[in-house]
């Protein structure tokens, strides 16, 4: 068991980091916000933590508070202009945010060490820390998801006209979603910095943005199991597909397309819906009630 954990710990830690990023993406998509800002928030969190640890020799807990804080702040600031935009405009504006953060991390060399990234960050967060973080964020999101905020998110995503007719403020809930997304991704970035010895700007670019989006689309965007399942699949899949070598990305892309076509609601949400149908059918058969 210990040997197994040791050899797979890096992969597991990566899956947990991805799960946190997927949570950040999930919370905006659930509220009907097409934000692609997760990569930018994560970069801010990672750099905040790394700079504090290497240049100012601050303790890890302070670095994590800083990454959470900078993510939250960035989410809130971005939300002010963007909570009033919709769909593709939000996507484009947040894409621009990713580019801005990327160019800052590349060009503000005095602080970020530019393209080389920040190296020899003390490893203060291990597998256990990552597990605790995923459980804590997952629990927090589950509480929100079943609260009136989660219900408002669902209504806004499905039908904004209905939402406003019920008195739900769309900008307010888009703001909440942006802030949560920023906070979670910022924390994820900080944890990753303290977990992986080094960070480079290019980790937080277009590839991450697409991967994180794919995780939530593949996993599902209603239940919190969606991002978890998506993150695990898309972290483990490249390892399983190692044998395909250079065709790896092709196979992965094809699998993603097939699953989106046949499971448009995502693996987790489709499975949960099927389970619910079975439970209702079983309950009906038991009581013998006939309902139209």
């Amino acid at each position: 068991m210990i040997g197994f954990l040791n050899s797979y710990a890096p992969l597991l830690e990566l899956a947990l980091f991805n799960a946190l990023l997927a949570f950040s993406q999930y919370v905006v998509l659930r509220a009907g916000v097409f934000s692609l800002g997760t990569a930018a928030f994560a970069a801010l969190g990672a750099y905040a933590a790394a700079v504090l640890a290497t240049k100012l020799a601050m303790p890890a807990w302070l670095g994590l508070v800083a990454s959470l804080g900078i993510g939250t702040l960035a989410g809130a600031l971005v939300a002010i202009p963007l909570a009033r935009l919709r769909g593709v405009f939000q996507a484009l504006a947040t894409l621009a945010l990713v580019q801005i953060v990327l160019s800052i991390t590349l060009n503000w060399v005095e602080v970020t060490d530019g393209a080389l990234g920040i190296n020899s960050i003390p490893k203060t967060v291990g597998l256990f820390g990552m597990i605790v973080a995923v459980l804590a964020v997952g629990y927090f999101l589950a509480v929100i998801g079943t609260s009136s905020i989660g219900r408002a998110f669902d209504i806004i995503r499905e039908d904004e006209t209905v939402a406003v007719s019920l008195g739900i403020s769309v900008p307010k809930h888009h703001m909440i979603a942006f802030i949560l997304s920023g906070a979670i991704a910022g924390l994820a970035g900080g944890l990753h910095a303290y977990n992986s010895y080094s960070i480079t700007p290019n980790e937080y670019g277009f590839n991450m943005l697409v991967m994180v989006l794919a995780m939530v689309v593949l996993g599902g965007r209603v239940s919190i199991w969606g991002p978890l399942v998506g993150a695990v699949i898309l972290t483990v899949l490249p390892e399983i597909l190692r044998g395909f070598q250079e065709y790896r990305m092709v196979v992965q892309g094809a699998l993603l397309m097939v699953s989106i076509v046949f499971l448009p609601r995502g693996v987790a949400d489709t499975t949960l819906a099927a389970l619910r149908r079975r439970r209702i059918a079983a309950a009906k058969a038991k009581t013998g009630t006939v309902t139209a």
């Binding site: 905020i149 406003v164 008195g167």
Partner: protein, 251 residues
Amino acid sequence: MKALTLDNIARSFGGLPAVDGLSLQAPAGRITGLIGPNGAGKTTVVNLITGLLKVGNGRILVGDDDMTEADAPTLARAGVARTFQNIRLIGDATVLDNVVAGFHRHEKAGTLANMLGLPAAHHERREFERKAYALLDRFGMTALARHPAGSLSYGHQRRIEMMRALAMEPSVLLLDEPVAGMNDAEAYSLADIFRDVARQGVAILLIEHNMRFVMSLCEHIYVLAFGRLIAEGTPDEVASNPRVIEAYLGS
């Protein structure tokens, strides 16, 4: 107890008037009818009253408050509820969740309490569910509470829309063709519920295509054709008005 008053409201789309100088009053505790042939502008009127569309001219009053400039969430929070002509439910959510959504405007627990799962939020949720079950019971749908709304029949989905609107505990209720596609028995069982709701002091504006149904429910009826008011009065007055007959049957 608040009445709904429309004072000479108008709205046009690209120069074409959809509603043109409509004045109307729906007193509290009554069911007021708004009828008209297809394309008369009935749904536009509902969208204007609920703030989904801005009026170009005129005033909208809820009680004594001028709500002409208010946006949709503000009007909803002020107690203006509606149903949709084309049913609009959250299909994946359960019947119960769809109805509970109607209570949104009565929420007091606050964002932070909901985020942290504080007891205040739990109590509120349980209270809303209790009230939602009371509504389900009244509409004979308790057994379906945990079903996804989208999996149910058309008649049931119409009822869910109505329960969601009633969950808002509105002072003004706009019913946009609430019995479209229902048979007579279903329609008249709902009519009893509408009368009940009106008796509690709600101002109901019933928008319908079905003349017979409106005649049986309303004391006062407004008739709209091509965005203009062509007649108003008691069911008998309206039914014998030659302009109404012409609008409905064509000349």
